[in-house]
Point group: C2
Chain length 468, copies 2
């Protein structure tokens, strides 16, 4: 088949651009840094939303919708927050042709406006925990943008909760990290993620602690896939979120916020893609099985339709391609580009043997399967493919994680993946130094790989890497 993409080894960023364009995932929007997500790309996001929304609701969190535009004065109320976000705001100054009394910011994140309403809704300990989430668009002014990875507008979910105590808020922040985010990323996206604590330099503006899931891309750079923030009482005090305790006294609540975005689509592409295009893990794939006719004939169409209906009946997400008038090779290349896990080719020769050809995008295998055994073979292939992608990604991470003893060594090792360095040997000073070479501390973990409660713990391990 003709080579349609720059190879990863030749020029990874160019490969990424090629995949996004050729697989028709997204394009630049008309205004600076905005993006148009095309149906093939949006279908990936829709499946992410479905899977995450189910997990979010399992925690008792309910969806709601808050306004797009936030009065600029709201940002002033939390000192760190305004410092972090003011430079990134897009500002609405006019409505209906007239200048507004107060400029409104297009939300870059909604702690402030949601905080304002939480303060109205939380009266007593009986109202807690208050667990809210919204799926929406946000905007941040960015100088250098890249489709899915860094764009002025992106789609995301932002969860916002209030709890009665530090302990409950802390536990919930970690529950989201583990049970919602990491579970989804590992079991659906088939991407192993490092779960850990962010350093002060990488912390969300206004948070007490930021926890994150980081995945390693195939070029050895890390991508922050999701964050869960413990906000302490910072926003509760700034927005006066108070409740009457069972002790008869007023208390400030403890809040959290957490989000994942369309950035994960970029992570999916760079975490699994190869020189032929995307490889989408079956558990996520909007199209798990792609049934295509090799060429047109009544018999071939009828057989393909039957296979399509049978797989659909088995609960497989399947797409039918009866366009025998378009060259087979062109359609096969497109199926590879889009990363459909399995492809079922049906042509006159296959039918003569009462077979179809089953091609696994991920394992690269091609086998003739009797039509009567196709459903079972597809189920087996999908399971194997999910596992194969996970194994490959995990092996990749293991092969690109190096223990080092100094910041200098970390910077060198980070050219190809993660450098593991005792936080005591790094510290804020080492972090600043590494940053000069474009290397940052992605997360801190305990020595046993678990997530620390705070930066105050001893014996933490830092994972340093270049990142997106």
């Amino acid at each position: 088949m003709a080579k349609v993409l720059t190879s990863q080894s030749e020029d990874f960023p160019r490969w990424y651009q090629d995949v996004v364009a050729k697989a028709q995932l997204a394009e630049n929007g008309p205004a600076k840094g905005q993006q148009v997500i095309r149906p093939s790309g949006f279908a990936l996001w829709e499946r992410m939303v479905d899977e995450l929304d189910e997990r979010i609701k399992e925690t008792g969190t309910e969806n709601a919708s808050f306004p797009l535009l936030i009065p600029e004065s709201y940002f002033q109320r939390e000192a760190d927050h305004v410092e972090g976000f003011a430079p990134e705001l897009w500002t609405v100054t006019h409505g209906g042709g007239k200048q507004l009394e107060e400029p409104l910011a297009v939300r870059p994140t909604s702690e402030t406006v949601i905080g304002e309403y939480m303060a109205k809704w939380v009266k007593s300990y009986r109202d807690l925990p208050l667990l809210l989430n919204q799926w929406c668009n946000v905007m941040r002014y960015e100088l250098r943008t890249r489709l899915f990875l860094r764009s002025s507008e992106f789609l995301w979910q932002e969860g916002h909760t209030v709890h009665a105590t530090y302990e409950e808020a802390h536990a919930f922040t970690l529950r989201i990290l583990h049970e919602v985010y990491a579970d989804f990323m590992e079991n659906v996206l088939a991407l192993p993620v490092l779960r850990g604590l962010k350093t002060e330099a990488e912390r969300f503006a206004g948070a007490l602690n930021t926890f994150a899931c980081e995945a390693l891309m195939r070029d050895g750079k890390a991508l922050q896939m999701g964050t869960s923030h413990e906000l302490g009482q910072n926003f509760a005090k700034a927005f006066d979120i108070q409740y009457l305790g069972s002790d008869g006294k007023q208390h400030h609540g403890w809040t959290t916020s957490w989000g994942v975005s369309t950035r994960m689509v970029g992570g999916l592409i760079m975490g699994h893609g190869d020189d032929a295009g995307l490889r989408v893990p079956p558990n996520l794939a909007p199209v798990q099985a792609y049934v295509m006719v090799v060429k047109d004939s009544e018999e071939v169409h009828a057989a393909a339709r039957k296979v399509y209906e049978e797989l659909k009946g088995e609960g497989v997400r399947v797409k039918l391609d009866l366009r025998g008038d378009i060259a087979f090779g062109r359609r096969a290349v497109d199926a590879e580009l889009k990363g459909y896990p399995v492809r079922i080719e049906i042509g006159p020769r296959d039918l003569k043997n009462n077979e179809a050809t089953l091609v696994s995008r991920i394992e690269g295998t091609k086998q003739a399967v009797p039509l009567g055994m196709l459903a079972a073979a597809v189920a087996t292939a999908l399971d194997a493919d999910q596992m194969a992608l996970w194994d490959e990604a995990l092996r990749h991470r293991e092969a690109h994680t190096v223990d080092v003893a100094t910041v200098e060594e970390a910077v060198e090792a980070a050219q190809t993946g993660y450098a593991r360095l005792a936080w005591d040997s790094c510290g804020v000073e080492g972090e600043t130094k590494a940053a000069e070479s474009g290397v940052t501390v992605r997360v801190l973990q305990r020595a046993d790989g678990s997530v620390p409660d705070s930066l105050d713990e001893d014996g933490l391990i830092a994972y340093l890497a270049r990142s997106y």
Copy 2:
């Protein structure tokens, strides 16, 4: 039970406000005309999205995502469109603290930006039809706003398609009207809708024809629930959407656009609600059955949990209320306010008889049901409730539709519902005159109730009403 709402007959607008506030559906946002949709309100919208999205996908339409901000110059390209929307725009003038070269409008609708991309994606007749949809937020500057019904920001879906011929575009516009919108509104929302053609005065800015679904609210005013626009070649010419036909020549495409919004939540409230609050049709209801303990006891909790699990297992959308420490009356009133179709009360007295009390919100009945027969009784009640709401709404519309012969009579009849008047006896002049009394032509139909293809047809019937 204490009266918690203003009655409909006393003050319908006040009743509406009360329901929205007391059932915790929505609140005003911080900036002009914006709204906060709370979990109880958002759950209604989520169910609408699920049902509609399925129907939209059935038509072969795919979801995508286009940018929030549209360069103002895009609006200039279609003369009628800019005239219609320019006064309603919210404008972003600054990004990252600096003035933008060109102001960007927060999208009020996306024909322009989507047209720009359709022109890039459509090359040949093989690319047609191109069927796109997006679920998103839009903003229009409004002077008088009302939660759900008219707000500066609202959530909606907007479908945008390109077809090769007038006939295909026309047929698709009507397919959306009938198979997506009316089907959803009648079979899920249980609201009978008039399907018809809008007059020139009520047409979408830039359209050839606008078709609509209109529902009659319980106060006798009409609400436009959804519109499907035939855009002709207006946008195809303005944005240069051309394709190479099978005849080897270049042709402009024919486009359509169509949308429904969170406004339907307002229609649901005013189309079915009564003096005790919302009444949600079972086919829509996020909570179809509300299982509540009368008071706390281990036995009662265990029985309620068992009923909850059993109903859930049967596929009923069910909510469990074990808060025996909150007064029973208060929780029952809240369940009525929120309009859960059936309520299952379980207390010590019920359990002594091995029964539960099944209360139908819609039929107002209350019966003791043996626990072993509860699942069947709930299924029967839900079916009956769906039918009962539909029948009631249909009878209401029939009782509030009057045949009239003149515009004067129409204006009078429209004080309580629809006035049916031959379009020949009304015309643009009559329409203008009626508008002075706040009465408008909602839709035009053929004499047999079917939807006209255009205003050129003879013998059309106009439905006039006051409206939201």
